[in-house]
Symmetry: C2
Subunit: 214 residues, 2 copies
């Protein structure tokens, strides 16, 4: 925004960004391990060794994506969780922002948040960050159960269910080709309404969530 170029076309993405874009797509469709550096290079239009001028290893490509996502999502969810608002509104707002952030991202990150990737020792640091995020979400759910906003549920199950829904929704609806806001609304309403003791309050919860200043 500050020093944007005068012409209205976006600048051509750098090779580094094109690598991230096509690699994310391949990771999401084939998985990290089944995707080869040759496939990535072919999709970019360069030779396989040229990749290593931009990234020191295949894992470094994945790490750049994880950093882009978690570096933003984790501080954000911490801020949302700490707001003085009902648990239902905070959960709604988290879901709304996270789905929108992911679905409008330049990269499709669905391929990295799977056991086969995140559970590997090399990714331990990222797994910990993701777990922290899920801990915070589960804590919001637990608070909602304690206050009576939510029904009595197995919060560990809800935590996993939310993770599963996000990954599946993103796998199908990837890569920021519009509709991210609508998807985010639908996911947040479906999940929070399912937890509410009185589901008729969902519209009010949504209004409160949208009014939260984060």
């Amino acid at each position: 925004m500050a020093v944007a170029p005068a012409n209205r076309t976006v600048p051509a993405p750098s090779t580094r960004e094109r690598i991230l874009f096509v690699a994310a797509d391949l990771f999401a469709r084939q998985g990290f391990h089944a995707t080869t550096t040759r496939q990535i290079a072919d999709a970019v239009g360069i030779r396989q060794p040229s990749l290593f001028h931009h990234f020191s290893s295949k894992m470094a490509i994945a790490e750049a994506m994880l950093e882009w996502d978690l570096g933003r999502a984790l501080p954000h969810v911490r801020a949302v969780a700490a707001l003085p608002a009902p648990a239902s509104a905070r959960l709604f707002r988290y879901l709304l922002d996270d789905v929108r952030h992911l679905s409008e991202a330049p990269y499709n990150l669905a391929g990295l948040y799977t056991e086969e990737v995140i559970s590997r020792p090399e990714f331990l640091a990222w797994d910990r960050q993701r777990n922290q995020l899920h801990d915070i979400v589960e804590a919001i759910v637990r608070e909602g159960v304690a206050t009576g906003e939510f029904i009595e549920v197995n919060t560990a199950l809800v935590r996993e269910a939310i993770g599963g829904i996000l990954v599946r929704a993103l796998t199908v609806h990837s890569g920021g080709r519009g509709g991210g806001q609508a998807l985010a609304d639908q996911v947040a309403r479906l999940v929070v309404r399912g937890l509410l003791r009185d589901p008729s309050e969902i519209d009010e919860v949504q209004a409160v969530a949208l009014a939260l200043g984060v």
Copy 2:
């Protein structure tokens, strides 16, 4: 039951069954592609080439699991979907039976129902079967929306959400070490209650679902 052995200990599992058991566990924890035939053989206690006496390839191991699951689940969901009962009860019953079937299975199948595996060309036949199953589930949801039992929802999103919840729930809660029935109850109640226009009917829906003769 019919011709059970007299002694009360179960017969020692064959090497073939032990391969399926440990391979499923590794697939679920590491993913299919990240799991090597050497790891499977080590866990079984045999040498890597000995695997190929029991299965002609690594993929054949995965196929045996998929056949075990889909060969049973697909006919079952067809039968449930065709019952003369409300959509809510049929969806409840499907979820109940599927989660219980999966969570009490000798193998943890969560590692195979991911894009990275099921979307590969070699698994096309299985992907089609899984899609048929999801088509049937989505049709039940659509019927529930049409009759007014369920709220207006994006049925494609619900279809993916259900798939995501099942995979995550199974990844964590694997391998039939008890609690399968409780998990199945919780998943079915959570999902169906979230869809019901009047969630206070959930207990009645559950009762009807349990009474269905399949």
